[in-house]
Symmetry: C2
């Protein structure tokens, strides 16, 4: 029973999402940290991505996705976010509990099942954290947004990183969810980690 190449899918997904909201390039070291792997493992795997035409990488340089790599990444991002949305809306999960489950299921569900869930959900355009869900053809709409760190006077919450469940529970208890409005006082009260996780609409 051949195991699907879930590793490649995870790599391109992380490379893609790293530059989704902030235009920074990613290195093998950063990728390793995000994936929880040793740097040497990542260097090796990135070579395979390059060999497959999914990524571009000069030794000691930044990693970028090719059009093929971006397409695969968008496919995985779509899967991940559709599954998160389904878990929250149809299964009763809290938005802080969906990440790990989606991380596994995104590699396991068939396109057919994904499409069925997408239809049941009414083809949502964003997930519970405010991240845009790419359409099946790879197109997506991402609102202009800036980190609260860079917008201390607040605004409409557009997106909250799903990386830290504890933070998510805390923010929800404070009423800080997608589409909520936060003012300057609210911003000032936020911890540093929180500020680095919340995006508000760009003015």
């Amino acid at each position: 029973m051949a195991v699907a190449p879930t590793a490649v899918e995870d790599y391109v997904k992380v490379i893609y999402t790293h530059t989704e909201w902030q235009p920074e390039h990613i290195t093998t070291g950063l990728l390793a940290a995000r994936l929880g792997l040793a740097a040497s493992s990542v260097t090796e795997m990135v070579k395979k991505l390059v060999a497959q035409g999914l990524a571009i990488h000069e030794p000691y340089g930044a990693i970028e996705l090719t059009p093929d790599g971006t397409a695969l990444a968008l496919r995985m991002v779509r899967r991940h976010r559709l599954i998160e949305t389904w878990l929250v809306q149809h299964v009763g999960y809290g938005w802080d509990e969906v990440h790990d489950e989606a991380e596994v299921l995104e590699h396991a569900m068939s396109d057919k099942l994904l499409d069925a869930l997408d239809a049941q959900l009414g083809h949502p355009s964003r997930d519970p954290h405010g991240d845009p869900i790419p359409a099946a053809d790879g197109s997506l709409h991402r609102p202009q947004a800036v980190l609260v760190t860079d917008a201390p006077s607040g605004g409409v919450v557009v997106r909250i990183s799903d990386r830290d469940p504890v933070l998510l529970r805390h923010l929800e208890a404070e009423g800080i969810v997608v589409d909520a409005v936060i003012d300057r006082a609210r911003c000032d009260a936020l911890a540093v980690e929180a500020r680095a996780s919340i995006w508000v609409a760009a003015t």
Copy 2:
């Protein structure tokens, strides 16, 4: 990202289901055929099952599950059948389309998600093919049944093997589904493969 030991799970599941409706012991060769693997691969893997205390196997002899092996098998069978039931009842799959999808998802869903789907379905006791769904504690009720091959006068259909989608579509078109009643004439009209796939209530 370490891959879960899905191979072990598949092996014990197949060993278990092989003796579920007919009390025949299974050999490495049969197991290999069911899993679509080379015989040598299966011999090796069975050694690992024995080393892990999941199976009993004397070289050149039959394979049996230990209590631990049976428990793991029941867990996987429960997962497989709950997922099949969910796909049919909540996602709109046909009963002939669920097998492959469940085969993958049974290794990917968390216990938490499984329990949530189980609750949504009202804790079903059998899947769309009539196979009993083990409870979370491993208990299950299996009706007394015999192959149509051995009951030419017919009876109430209790179970239909899910192994051949084409056959399933054909049978459904004929009105042969779980709980249907088939008489002697109906039985006589069945092809040999069909007879080997349909169980009726034992008299």
